[in-house]
């Protein structure tokens, strides 16, 4: 029925630190279906960063299978991984990672610069469309230093949308923001999710998880819990409940 975007089967990742082998992920299996909003939770050392790197095709598993949109990642080389990242994944980072002194629109265009199938005109068009989607249609030519933290993260979200990825991968995307702004960002994520965009959100904040449709909890490299959230909170409602800011 619904397509599986991510298929993970008995995934292991080991690091060799000198003579010691660290088992960061100890055999993990789960799938992510199209249109899901999944939070991956875990405290530091739980293996969630390793999970994120592998999900984002920045790293490869030691053993086990990882498929994204029907492509097995296991045997791809550096360049092929780059192409997967370019075409199938949209990254959002905690610290926004925008290019300094570069306008919002140029920041958003960045992934498309590395895709030779997209022409200059189409690139610009798609960047404008993505910025409008995140509500920054009026700030196309602002540089990051002229934007607030929330707006910068919106630019980053627009950048992750611009290549029409099969999944958006967010790494503590609200970690640098205050409660109000993070609720705004979460409500934006929920809106995007409603439009059918698959989102995987890595976080250690439990309240963020209440906005997602499913939560996977990692501990010591294993899945502790994997449950559907039947009572998804609306970030927009939560935002309304917050005390009004002093004008």
């Amino acid at each position: 029925m619904t397509k599986e975007i991510i298929k993970i089967q008995d995934l292991k990742r080991e690091f060799t630190m000198g003579t010691e082998t660290v088992h960061a992920l100890k055999g993990i299996s789960f799938d992510i279906k199209e249109g899901e909003f999944v939070t991956i939770m875990g405290s530091s050392g739980s293996g969630k960063s390793t999970m994120l790197n592998i999900l984002g095709c920045l790293d490869q598993p030691t053993s086990g299978a990882y498929e994204i949109d029907g492509v097995s990642v296991k045997d791809l080389n550096r360049n092929e991984l780059a192409t997967i990242r370019n075409e199938k994944i949209g990254f959002i980072f905690q610290s926004y990672n925008l290019l300094a002194r570069t306008s919002a629109i140029e920041n958003v265009e960045l992934p498309l610069l590395y895709n030779s199938k997209v022409s200059t005109e189409e690139r610009r068009e798609r960047a404008i469309k993505a910025l409008k989607m995140v509500g920054l249609g009026e700030r196309l030519h602002h540089t990051p230093s002229q934007l607030s933290g929330g707006q910068q993260q919106r630019v980053a979200i627009a950048r992750s949308l611009v290549n029409n990825p099969v999944m958006i991968l967010a790494d503590e995307a609200t970690g640098n923001l205050d409660t109000r702004t993070s609720y705004e960002i979460m409500s934006l994520f929920q809106e995007l999710n409603k439009k059918g965009i698959t989102i995987t959100f890595v976080t250690h904040e439990p309240d963020i998880a209440t906005f997602s449709s499913r939560t996977v909890v990692l501990k010591d490299g294993e899945i502790m819990q994997d449950y559907l959230n039947h009572n998804v909170q609306s970030a927009a409602n939560e935002l309304a409940k917050l005390p009004k800011q002093d004008e």
């Binding site: 550096r78 360049n79 990672n97």
Partner: protein
């Protein structure tokens, strides 16, 4: 398409760091400019040597008695008496590649006209001398073969002599002067030639029939030298061989004996002097190249800093799909853009410096096209060479570590 995008990215990075880029370029600019200016000076002096020597008679061949005076303790040839009129006659008869030939005897003495006197040199020659030296007459006429035969006491004088013995602006032609107390009738004035490359005043001469000079002034029967000119510049070296052969048989030299005379063409003289200035050029260019090298190292340095400083950016670019080669090309293009732009500005500055040297220092210069092409090419190569290593380092970064880099 993709390459064009990489160009845009690299260009943007340069524009965002204008001051730094300009300072980096400065090394290249100065390097290229000095290479071009140095080469222009070198080429210019070479050319000026060539033209002055050519103005002394481009096809000229000189034959002197005595072996080549390159070794130590050799005489100047002046007091060697092995070159005689018989040699001249034989060469004239046998050497087919010569168009003009004259015996030369010369000696120093005092030129006197009334109360004015001037130390000068008298050259005894035949009428072909003017053709060989490529010198014309300002007034009067050359003496004739008949006057040579009869050892007539007639003379032509150069501009410097005129100035000194006819200071009142009197017309010298038709006047009587004395050279070492021998009276001569001035029948012509030579065209002014000025100083030659070696600082010798070419107008400080008196010219008379060689017979007259031999008998009446020097009292000798040998020749100081023989001057000739080859039918063309290309035939000069062949003509030298001809003359050498004639003289060797004249002087009855056997195979194992060295020449007891020296035959030189202007071409040889030019190459002797050119090689000196060429060595100087090489030296100048070497110094200039070092500054170009230092400019290149400057690029490498700044590219290193740039890669380090932009580690996080590189990580991001990789995360959104830049391949290693994209990153490599981005930084390489950046380095090449810096060096090529620097090279271009360097060429302009170098040409400017050349114009300045020519007009304000009055040094002869000549900008060779090859110097521009070479220094420009060197620039591009410098960019690739010194940009490669930092670019390579950037492209080999692990995206995860790069993203976390603070």
């Amino acid at each position: 398409m993709r390459l064009l995008n990489l160009f845009k990215i690299a260009f943007k990075a340069i524009v965002l760091n204008k001051t730094r880029t300009l300072l980096t370029m400065l090394g290249i600019i100065i390097g290229v400019a000095s290479v071009i200016a140095m080469l222009a000076i070198g080429e210019g002096s070479k050319e000026s040597i060539r033209t002055t020597i050519s103005s002394m008679g481009s096809n000229m061949i000189t034959i002197r008695p005595g072996a080549d005076n390159s070794g130590p303790a050799r005489g100047s040839g002046g007091n060697v008496q092995t070159l005689i009129l018989e040699d001249y006659n034989e060469i004239k008869k046998q050497a087919s590649l010569l168009s003009y030939i004259t015996p030369v005897v010369n000696g120093g003495g005092q030129v006197i006209n009334g109360a004015n006197n001037w130390p000068s040199t008298i050259y005894g020659v035949n009428p072909e001398y003017l053709n060989i030296k490529a010198v014309g007459l300002q007034s009067g006429s050359m003496f004739t073969d008949a006057e040579v035969k009869s050892a007539a006491k007639v003379a032509l004088i150069g501009g410097t002599v005129v100035e000194n013995v006819f200071p009142d602006g009197q017309e010298p032609v038709g006047q009587m002067i004395r050279f070492n107390n021998i009276p001569f009738k001035v029948i012509g004035v030579l065209e002014e030639k000025g100083e030659n490359t070696f600082g010798q005043d070419q107008d400080d001469v008196v010219i008379a029939p060689y017979t007259t000079v031999q008998k009446r002034i020097l009292a000798i029967d040998y020749l100081n030298q023989i001057m000739a000119s080859a039918i063309s510049e290309d035939e000069a070296s062949e003509a030298v061989t001809q003359v050498t052969d004639v003289l060797r048989s004249q002087h009855k030299l056997i195979e194992s004996e060295d020449d007891d005379f020296t035959v030189r063409s202007m071409e040889e003289l030019i190459s002797t002097f050119s090689s000196t200035s060429e060595m100087l050029t090489v030296l100048l260019v070497a110094v200039a190249s070092i500054s170009l090298l230092i400019g290149g190292i400057g690029i490498m340095n700044i590219m290193y800093v740039s890669v380090k400083e932009r580690t996080k950016e590189i990580g991001l670019r990789m995360a959104v799909g830049a391949k290693g080669t994209d990153i490599l090309m981005q930084f390489l293009i950046e380095a090449i853009l810096i060096s090529v732009t620097g090279g271009l500005l360097g060429v302009i500055l170098g040409l400017g410096a050349t114009v300045f040297i020519e007009n304000f220092l009055n040094w002869p210069t000549s900008v060779a096209l090859y110097s521009i092409v070479i220094s420009f090419a060197v620039c591009a190569v410098t960019g690739i060479f010194f940009g490669w290593y930092p670019a390579r380092k950037a492209s080999a970064l692990d995206p995860i570590t790069a993203l976390r880099y603070e």
